[in-house]
């Protein structure tokens, strides 16, 4: 729980990791990819405040103690949601698997939610693994990374028929939330790898599932926003937006937040620190203090305490059925939905 000026913020970190990218875990012959991946993550950390930067060694593999301190003790997080990323073509034991996360979760009951994942290219074996993981860890969500390399293939999309088989089975198993992360190496390479239209199709065809598009579809925020306005079950995962822009690029952070509040709305935006890329502490403190920096942004929806409470925890708590202490709840009518519906009705000749 974070407290500021008498207000209590219940914090759900809906996108974080416990990875092992140390050289001992690099796949022989694929070391350059394993090294390139973690160095890329490390450069992202450089976009946060200098006093929060780590050297590369602890960044490659941080300890359980580091995580518990950074996320819960110093970082105000009430519940953290593990989002696994396997990358087994590059990391022998996987980069950040359900098992690795689950083992940590079992040692700290009530602190974590253990999401799992699937890859439709794994076919029947993959379905079996999904079933086992849901049974073993009680997963209510899956993280899908479409750019994962798998046995010669360089990516997949939710439009693939195999993907629907997995989504159907996931739903039967009780999965509610599908976190989608678009990466750059998708098949086929002549198409835009970051295109989110496959999420659009899946969201229409699986209205009972929620689709949280991580990193708000970056670098395709505009395509994501157009899609989110049409699909009631599509959410904006803010990981990278706060971590990568709020400190390093405050002007663009304000614009991106303004656009998201306008098109997607404060009821459908969820905070994620992306730990260990960025520690949650400075992100939460900074976001609670944040407002648009000048009048230049007066066209965008306003932000208030209710907006921030929803984004930092209440929205994700609703998606995952997490109980929120009474003192951190909001009255039912607090805040405002997205403004984009009004925009469609702007009178002829009105100022935009």
């Amino acid at each position: 729980m974070y407290e500021k000026d008498g207000e209590k913020y219940f914090v759900v970190d809906s996108h974080m990791h416990y990875w092992d990218a140390s050289p001992a875990n690099w796949v022989a012959g694929h070391e350059q990819y394993a090294k390139g991946w973690i160095e890329c993550f490390h450069a992202y950390q450089g976009l946060g405040p200098p006093e929060t930067h780590w050297t590369i060694e602890p960044f490659q593999k941080y300890s359980e103690e580091d995580l518990m301190k950074d996320v819960f003790e110093d970082g105000y997080v009430d519940v953290a949601i593990f989002q696994p990323t396997y990358l087994k073509e590059w990391y022998t034991e996987g980069f950040n698997t359900t098992e690795r996360n689950g083992a940590l979760s079992e040692k700290h009951p009530g602190k974590f939610i253990v999401n799992t994942r699937f890859d439709p290219r794994d076919s029947d074996l993959g379905l079996k693994a999904l079933e086992d993981n849901v049974a073993r860890w009680g997963s209510k969500g899956v993280k899908l990374y479409t750019a994962e390399w798998n046995n010669g293939s360089r990516g997949w999309t939710l439009k693939d028929p195999g993907a629907y088989r997995f989504l159907e089975r996931a739903q039967e198993l009780g999965i509610k939330n599908v976190h989608v992360h678009k990466g750059p190496t998708i098949w086929p390479l002549d198409k835009d790898a970051f295109d989110v239209s496959d999420v659009d199709h899946a969201a229409t065809d699986f209205p009972e599932l929620n689709f949280i598009v991580e990193h708000v579809g970056l670098p395709r925020i505009e395509d994501f926003c157009f899609m989110a306005t049409q699909e009631p079950n599509v959410y904006a995962g803010l990981s990278v937006v706060i971590g990568g822009l709020m400190h390093a690029r405050p002007k663009f952070f304000a614009k991106v937040m303004g656009e998201l509040l306008f098109w997607v709305g404060e009821d459908k935006m969820t905070f994620g620190s992306d730990y260990g890329i960025w520690e949650p502490k400075w992100q939460i403190e900074g976001f609670v203090d944040w407002d648009y920096p000048s009048d230049e942004f007066s066209d965008y929806p306003r932000v208030n305490t209710a907006t921030k409470k929803k984004i930092l925890g209440l929205n994700a708590a609703k998606l995952y059925g997490i109980e929120v202490p009474k003192e951190a709840q909001l009255p039912a009518d607090a805040g405002a939905p997205a403004a984009q519906d009004d925009a469609m009705l702007v009178e002829d000749g009105a100022r935009v």
């Binding site: 450089g46 505009e222 656009e259 009105a350």
Partner: protein, 238 residues
């Protein structure tokens, strides 16, 4: 036969015309050119770098191919070498460009078509974002959306943003003359009607915010990765 070899400045000037297709900015200004030399006998050697090891390979390929074409056309350049450094697909891209292969051949089995349509998709986004940049000051100065619907390109005061918008529209073969409407659909070239205009401008603003935010993030990542300035790099307007 040319007697004198080209100057490095000539080659850099040619690279100014090479843009990152997603960001719609010159590779020089973005800091992507890490080195550029021309030997006494006219061999131009250009090294390109990107913000991350995993930047999208299709866009990387387009930039390297465009750089090769731009440098090759400089007078006094007898032979061109363009090398993409520190990228997971460097080998495939560099050998493909050196052999003058297309994209499909360079990524055997991983791509079904060349990149022309992809390039057009991003030019359309550049037109939308550019439209917003031209309209923003007009609206700030008190023009209404009704006014904008009536305006032609020739009636807007000259600016670099306007020139850039016209150039992108011309590239897409959209109407770009003085008597063409300021606001056109980037796919069809049809004028945008008054009714559709507010939403069109909202979408244009979103597209422009996305492009600028990505450009800003790419610059930040490039600086974290290398800590050195590229040739012709221009600081962003913060």
């Amino acid at each position: 036969m040319t007697t004198f070899a080209a100057q490095v400045s000539d080659v850099l000037a040619a690279l100014e015309a090479v843009r990152d297709p997603e960001l719609d900015e010159p590779v020089t200004e973005l800091g992507f050119v890490s080195s550029c030399t021309v030997s006494a006998d006219g061999v131009a050697d250009v090294r390109l770098r990107l913000p991350t090891y995993f930047c999208a390979p299709n866009f990387a390929f387009l930039m390297v191919a465009d750089a090769y074409d731009a440098v090759s056309s400089v007078e006094g350049v007898r032979r061109t070498e363009v090398v993409l450094e520190d990228h997971f697909a460097s080998d495939a891209i560099n050998s493909g460009i050196a052999a003058r292969s297309g994209f499909v051949e360079s990524f055997e089995g991983l791509a079904a078509a060349e990149l022309d349509e992809l390039r057009r998709d991003f030019l359309r986004k550049a037109v939308l974002a550019g439209t917003e940049r031209v309209c923003r000051p007009l609206l700030a100065a008190g023009r209404t959306t009704d006014d904008l619907a009536e305006l032609t390109l020739g009636e807007v005061a000259p600016s670099t943003d306007l020139e850039r918008l016209r150039a992108r529209r011309a590239e897409l073969r959209l109407p770009s003359g003085d008597d063409s409407p300021l606001l056109v659909d980037a796919a069809t070239g049809e004028a945008v009607g008054v009714q559709a205009l507010p939403l069109h401008l909202r979408r244009a603003r979103l597209t422009s915010v996305n492009m600028e935010a990505n450009g800003s993030m790419c610059r930040g990542m490039l600086r974290e990765r290398y800590g050195t300035r590229g040739l012709g790099e221009v600081e962003e307007d913060q």
